[in-house]
C-alpha cells in the first residue's frame, strides 16, 4: 500500500443532519502516528462537548489501525494509506479527513535550500552522495529516512521518486520524532517528515523552487501531499458517527485542522 496524491473521493457528506445519538460511552481509535495529532485534538474537543464520552486513542502504525478495525477490535482505524488488498473485502469504509503535506528537511549546516525533483531522486536513490553535486559544500550526504512500511516514505517514493527504490545505504528511523533528532544532530543529513512536525532544529527545503505553504498545496504548486484516512467497519453509527461528523464538521476543519499542520479536506476541492 502507499499514499496516493489525488484520489476520486467518496467522502461522506460533511454535515448530514441526522438523529444520531450517543450509543456507547467509549469508542476507540488506533493506527497512523502521522494522523495522531489531529485525531487527538478532535477527540479532546469531542469529549469536552459530550461529557462522559471517552475516545481511546492509540498509535501502532497505519496497518495496526486497519487490521484492528477490520477485526472489530477498535471502532476507527487511522491510516496514511488506502486499505490493502487483504482487507478490501472486510467492509471497511474510508473517511478521508484531511490532507497531509510532507517536507524535505536537512541539517542546518547544509548550504542549499532548494532541491529539484531530479536532484532529490538522485540523492534518495544513492546516485548523488555529496552535497557539492547539488551546489552545496563538499560534504557527504547522510540520508535518514523512515522504515519501509512507513506511509510517509511511501508518499515520497510515489511522488518524488516516481516509484524508484530508496538506496539501502540510508539510515532509517522508526518515527518522525527520532528522525528529526537524527537530522538535527547529523551534519549533512537529509530526511523527510509530515509538515505538521516541522521544528526549528532542522531546515525545510523548497521543492522545485516552491516553498511549502497551505496555499501552495491548495493551488497544486507544491505536490508532496497525501490524504489521511479514518476507516470504519461498515457505516458508522451512534457515537462513532458523531465523532466522525465532528471531525468533518466545518467548525473543526476550518478552525483546528490547520493548527495541527494538516490541510482541511475542503482546501483541495476548491
Amino acid at each position: 500500500g502507499c499514499g496516493k496524491t489525488a484520489a476520486p473521493t467518496t467522502t461522506t457528506p460533511v454535515s448530514t443532519p441526522s438523529a444520531t445519538t450517543i450509543d456507547k460511552m467509549t469508542i476507540s481509535s488506533a493506527g497512523s502516528t502521522a494522523l495522531q495529532p489531529l485525531v487527538k485534538l478532535a477527540a479532546e474537543d469531542f469529549m469536552t462537548k459530550n461529557a462522559g464520552v471517552q475516545v481511546n486513542l492509540s498509535g501502532g502504525g497505519s496497518m495496526t489501525g486497519l487490521t484492528n478495525v477490520a477485526s472489530g477490535a477498535i471502532d476507527i482505524g487511522n491510516s496514511d494509506v488506502f486499505v490493502t488488498d487483504e482487507l478490501k473485502d472486510k467492509g471497511l469504509i474510508d473517511h478521508q479527513v484531511c490532507v497531509a503535506p510532507f517536507l524535505l528537511i536537512t541539517n542546518k549546516d547544509v548550504a542549499i535550500d532548494n532541491l529539484t525533483k531530479a536532484q532529490a531522486t538522485d540523492i534518495f536513490t544513492g546516485k548523488i552522495t555529496n552535497w557539492k553535486e547539488v551546489g552545496g559544500k563538499d560534504a557527504p550526504i547522510a540520508i535518514i529516512g523512515r522504515a519501509k512500511s512507513s506511509g510517509t516514505r511511501a508518499t515520497i517514493v510515489k511522488i518524488v521518486m516516481d516509484g524508484k527504490e530508496f538506496t539501502d545505504a540510508a539510515a532509517a528511523q522508526d518515527s518522525t520524532g527520532n528522525l528529526l533528532t537524527g537530522v538535527a544532530q547529523t551534519p549533512g543529513a537529509i530526511g523527510y517528515i509530515d509538515a505538521a512536525y516541522l521544528k526549528d532544529t532542522v531546515k525545510a527545503l523548497k521543492y522545485n523552487g516552491v516553498a511549502y505553504s497551505a496555499d501552495a498545496v491548495a493551488s497544486g504548486q507544491y505536490p508532496i501531499y497525501a490524504y489521511e484516512h479514518m476507516y470504519t467497519k461498515g457505516e458508522p453509527t451512534g457515537t462513532v458517527k458523531l465523532f466522525l461528523d465532528y471531525v468533518m464538521s466545518k467548525e473543526f476543519q476550518e478552525k483546528s485542522v490547520e493548527k495541527t499542520g494538516f490541510l482541511p479536506i475542503s482546501a483541495m476541492k476548491k
Binding site: S58, S71, A73, I74, G177, Y197
Partner: protein
C-alpha cells in the same frame, strides 16, 4: 617482585573499572535528571498535557500485572525450591522458565496483541497490557523466589519438620517469612523493569489516557509514563512541548524507580533486622 607489582597494578585497574562504572551511572543519572528535573513542576502533572493520568496508569498496570504474576510466579518458585523432585519434568519446567526469561519483550508484545487485542477482541486495554506484562514478570519472579527460598538455611526446615509440621506449615510460618527480604528485592527488580517497559504496552495497552482521573476501569486503554516518553520522543506532537515532556518524563521515571527501590528495601531491611535481632555481641 613481579607478583607484588602485578597485584598492585590489578588493584588499581579494578578500582579504575569500578570508578568507570560509577561514573557511567552518575553521568547517566545526571544527564537524565539534569535535563528533566527543572520541568517537574505541579503543572507538569496537572497542566493540560499533565502526566498525572500516565503516572497513575503506570502504577495501576504494575499493580495489576503483579496481581496476575505474583501468585503464579511465587507459587512456581516455591515448587522449584521446595517440592520439585529431580526428574525430567522438573528439568523441563526449569528449562522453560529460564527460556521465558530470555524472550525479547517485543515477542511478548506481539503475543499479547494477538491474544488480547485481536483474538479476544478487547482492543487496547489496561487488562491486556497487565496480563502481557505479567508474562515478562513471571520468569524473574520464579527465579528470585527460588533463589531466596534456597538461601534459607536447611536447618530451619529440618527444625520445623522435626517438630511435626507439615511442609505447608513450614513454608508459610518459617521459610517464607525468612525469605521475605530476598523476595522483596526480587519484586523491586520486577517492578523496575515493568515500570520502564514500552515495547509490550504499545501493542497491548494503547497510547492514550482516560480523562477520568484515576480511572480504574481495566478495560480502558492506559498509556504509562514509559509509553508516554516513547510517544513524546517519536511523535513530538505539534503544539505540545514534546521535548520538555520527554525530558521530564524520563526524569520522573528514574525518580520513581529510585523511590520504589527505597520504599521496598527499607522495610525489608527493617524486617531483616527484626527477624535476625540485634547483633549477637
Amino acid at each position: 617482585m613481579k607478583a607484588r607489582q602485578t597485584d598492585r597494578l590489578a588493584s588499581v585497574m579494578l578500582w579504575v573499572g569500578a570508578i568507570a562504572i560509577i561514573v557511567l551511572l552518575v553521568a547517566f543519572l545526571g544527564l537524565i535528571l539534569g535535563r528533566g528535573l527543572p520541568y517537574l513542576t505541579p503543572d507538569f502533572f496537572n497542566g493540560p498535557d499533565g502526566v498525572r493520568g500516565q503516572l497513575f496508569n503506570s502504577f495501576y498496570l504494575l499493580a495489576l500485572s503483579l496481581v496476575f504474576s505474583l501468585p503464579v510466579g511465587v507459587g512456581a518458585g516455591i515448587y522449584m525450591a521446595e517440592y520439585a523432585p529431580q526428574n525430567k519434568l522438573t528439568d523441563l519446567i526449569r528449562l522453560s522458565t529460564e527460556s521465558l526469561a530470555t524472550v525479547p519483550s517485543i515477542v511478548f508484545g506481539l503475543f499479547g496483541m494477538i491474544i488480547f487485542v485481536n483474538k479476544l477482541g478487547l482492543g487496547f486495554t489496561i487488562l491486556g497490557g497487565a496480563a502481557t506484562l505479567a508474562l515478562l514478570n513471571l520468569p524473574i519472579l520464579v527465579r528470585v523466589t527460588e533463589e531466596s527460598l534456597r538461601a534459607v538455611p536447611r536447618s530451619y526446615r529440618e527444625a520445623s519438620l522435626a517438630l511435626g509440621a507439615t511442609m505447608w506449615q513450614t513454608l508459610y510460618r518459617v521459610i517464607l517469612p525468612t525469605a521475605l527480604p530476598g523476595l522483596i528485592t526480587g519484586i523491586t527488580l520486577v517492578a523496575g523493569r515493568a515500570l520502564g517497559e514500552t515495547a509490550i504496552l504499545i501493542f497491548t495497552a494503547g497510547m492514550n489516557v482516560s480523562r477520568i482521573l484515576f480511572d480504574t476501569n481495566p478495560l480502558a486503554a492506559g498509556e504509562t509514563l514509559a509509553v508516554h516518553l516513547f510517544a513524546a520522543k517519536s511523535n513530538p506532537l505539534p503544539g505540545t512541548n514534546a521535548d520538555q515532556i520527554a525530558d521530564g518524563t524520563a526524569a520522573l521515571l528514574i525518580l520513581m524507580v529510585i523511590v520504589f527501590n527505597i520504599c521496598l528495601t527499607l522495610p525489608s531491611r527493617w524486617l531483616q533486622y527484626r527477624l535476625l535481632g540485634k547483633n549477637k555481641g
